[in-house]
Amino acid sequence: MQRRTPIFIVTSSRPRVGRTLIARALTEYFCAQNRPVAAFDVNPDEFKLIDHLPAYTAAASLNDTRGEMALFDQLVLEDAVPKVVDLSHQLVDRFFQVMQQIDFATEVRRRAIAPMVLFVADPDERSRRGYAMLKERFPDLPLVPVLNEHVQRVGAYRANFPPTRLGGGPISIPALSPVVRSVVDRRNFSFVGYVQKTNDRTSELYEWMGRVFISFRELEVRLLLGEITPQLRHSA
């Protein structure tokens, strides 16, 4: 069976919730396995993902049709290259509006493509509404809440982000200490580079990467289950 090409759309309704960090880690998760990956930095003002991973990332814009073509025409390619989209909170509405207008959902069903939205949660009411909007408007799109423990009190608001039929329950991203976070935020820092250099498998960062990469592996399994479940139903 041919595996579908996954697209991970990492987004949020609020800034400073660790969205780009998660997109970076996800991109490097594929690099760590020597798998090809293509990332897209969809931010109106500042491009952060492309600063960290210039070799794998393209800047994308939704300002005009040309920009939309450059992004969505790449996303619908059945090239078996996983795609990671770092979608700014300012462009969430526009992105999903374009997606609806061009009937992206039908096209990905027709092609061997499996999109998944990773919604980075936070306690703000706008975040709850944004998640509910995506859940309601795109019931056929796997939507996964991401609880970044770096965001204060996010665990207490878990009920605002209920599991979805196709995406499943939330995944958790452990918080990094401020010192480690300052290292990770350096422009030339690479997770894969760090693992290749370090011998200390008990370090905070190494353990953090282990936990986060296991969560990403679980997301891939969820996508795979989404592929095979209809066939299992059919054969039962």
Partner: protein, 70 residues
């Protein structure tokens, strides 16, 4: 821009949406532009239906068609 590209391709709207050339050969139009054209066509046809355009331009044809079905 989508309209421009349909003009450049010199094909009917439906062939553009279906990603086909004039002789039904496979084409390589932008997925985004095809989506916009499909969306626009849907809106235009919905408006035609709303004002009952067929009844306006060909009431005779409609009547004959209905009579044949009866």
């Amino acid at each position: 821009m989508a309209y421009e590209q349909v003009e450049v391709a010199s094909v009917p709207f439906l062939k553009f949406v279906a990603n086909k050339g004039l002789q039904d050969e496979a084409a390589n139009y932008s997925f985004v532009l095809r989506g916009y054209v499909r969306h626009w066509l849907g809106n235009v046809w919905a408006e035609f239906d709303r004002v009952k355009l067929i009844d306006m331009v060909a009431p005779e044809v409609q009547r004959k068609g209905a009579a044949r079905q009866a």
